[in-house]
């Protein structure tokens, strides 16, 4: 195995371990704030259990949730990085090894025969999203995406004539329909335009943005705030038991749309919003961007 492959594999195993055991600081902070300001008793009980669980997972080094998700990688690959063709294989090997070592729950099932592959790998899984960037560094993000919140992700082909009102209605309706299923309080990724696939791809990628970072586009920042406030008036609350915190944040992205189409997508992440990112430099050194690593 050449050195880049080995570095990518080791780094990806570390990222998986960090992601499933330790939530990013922004998510922890948002949950703490939700606990302090929740008004429903049942909601507060649930948020307290969530915070206790997060602490316990860190102390004991065990996964924060037993559903360690479907493994998805987002790779920003510097165009000058050598052996780029080896990286996908290294990420698959890392997934296999991490499943054994951490351990992760085996979550890759053959849809036809229903058999679990046992190692979190299978056709197209783990999935790797590529972005080619200038330079010779690699930035790898892992998203371990829980099944409960995935089951309510929705694409809608809206009526262009309804414009932004149509989008807002779609988001609110989707959250009402999801109810307690996606383990609220959730993070919502919302995207419009492009096409059915592009909208969902952007919506899911928007989940990676840390909470509390406003959208750089002022129009979208305003929309995010409006949607956050609107959804949190529904009263679904933590774990769907009633309360003010149904979601922790909304992240919006968009693509240009066909004149006759208004694709829209809502991606949900559960409160256990697990992600981890590292940068690998040309000299092989690794910097972890989402987690403190000693």
């Amino acid at each position: 195995m050449n050195s880049i492959e080995k570095t990518v594999e080791d780094t990806a195993i570390n990222l998986l371990r960090l992601a499933v055991i330790q939530l990013p600081e922004d998510v922890k902070k948002a949950l703490q704030h939700a606990y302090e300001t929740e008004t429903s008793e049942a909601g507060k009980t649930q948020l307290k259990a969530i915070l206790d669980n997060i602490k316990l997972a860190e102390q004991t080094g065990t996964p924060v949730c037993q559903d360690t998700g479907t493994i998805i990688y987002y790779v920003k690959a510097g165009a000058q990085t050598p052996n780029l063709d080896k990286i996908e294989n290294a990420l698959t090997n890392a997934t296999r090894k991490a499943t054994q070592q951490i351990p992760l729950r085996p979550n890759a099932v053959d849809p036809i025969v229903g058999k679990n592959t046992g190692d979190n790998t299978g056709p197209h899984i783990p999935y790797v999203h590529w972005e080619i960037t200038p330079g010779n560094e690699l930035e790898i993000t892992v998203l371990t995406k829980g099944g409960g919140s995935e089951n309510v992700c929705t694409v809608g082909m809206l009526v262009p004539g309804e414009g932004m009102n149509g989008l807002k209605k779609f988001v609110i309706d989707t959250v009402v329909k999801a109810g307690s299923q996606p383990c609220p309080p959730n993070i919502l990724g919302v995207a419009m335009g492009g096409g059915a696939d592009i909208a969902m791809k952007l919506a899911k990628k928007a989940l990676l943005r840390p909470l509390g970072q406003p959208n750089p586009n002022p129009e979208l920042a305003k929309l995010e705030k409006e949607l956050l406030e609107a959804v949190n008036q529904l009263g679904i609350g933590p774990m769907g038991l009633g309360g003010k915190w149904t979601i922790l944040g909304v992240h919006v992205d968009y693509a240009a749309r066909h004149p006759a189409s208004f694709p829209a997508a809502v991606a949900f992440n559960c409160w256990a919003a697990r992600r981890a990112t590292a940068r690998i430099r040309a000299d092989g050194s690794v910097e972890y961007l989402t987690h403190k690593v000693r």
Partner: protein, 201 residues
């Protein structure tokens, strides 16, 4: 909102004390069962076959845990609840046939289950979705695993637990269902939000 601590086997009298929004902790035996185990249990009951464990007065836990073997002993690594609605098609018969007193899961259950809980005396305890480490801490011993041929997440794991919780009583044995109430509230609030945002129906 009251807090109760029950030991298994739980009596009907005790379970009828619980009201929605109460908090429950369980000490004793709980058994995991997801889709496949529910289906097989009901098939076995139909064929007059005895289950590997008597569930009377116990709690059934909708959970596909991560369990690892240390020597020849199983250890629960992470064991949070899974989405309960998938078991809605089995749960009324399950409660009727096996006499479980508590169904533990996340996300709530529907009308058929709520009616069975009222009729036979059982409650739904919502355990925080994803709170796998908290659950694993309360699991003191993995007594046995049955039906392992169904795979790790779908097998019947028999756990001995101490103060397993907090469980929010979300469906009680008197026909109350918090999830129904919250869904109704959300519907009402939705209309208000539409009006505020200037969206027509």
């Amino acid at each position: 909102m009251a807090t109760y601590k029950f030991k298994t086997p739980i009596s009907e009298e005790d379970i009828r004390k619980l009201k929605t929004n109460d908090v429950l902790y369980i000490t004793g035996t709980i058994v995991t069962a997801r889709d496949q185990a529910h289906r097989r249990a009901l098939e076995w009951a139909k064929d007059g076959k005895k289950l590997p464990i008597d569930l009377k007065g116990l709690a059934v836990f909708h959970c596909g845990p991560i369990v690892k073997k240390e020597g020849d002993k199983w250890v629960a690594v992470a064991a949070g609840p899974t989405t309960s609605t998938r078991m809605d098609i089995f749960e009324d018969e399950f409660i009727k046939n096996f006499g479980v007193r508590v169904v533990i899961g996340k996300g709530g259950m529907g009308k058929r289950t709520t009616e069975a809980m009222k009729k036979y005396g059982a409650v739904y305890g919502a355990f925080t979705g994803g709170a796998a480490a908290l659950a694993a801490k309360a699991i003191k011993n993995v007594r046995a695993v049955e039906w392992y041929d169904l795979g790790m997440p779908e097998a019947l794991w028999i756990f001995e637990v101490e103060e397993f919780g907090p469980l929010s009583v979300a469906i009680d044995s008197h026909g109350n269902n918090i999830f129904d109430q919250v869904a109704k509230t959300a519907e009402e609030n939705r209309a208000k939000i539409y009006a505020k945002l200037g969206i027509g129906k």
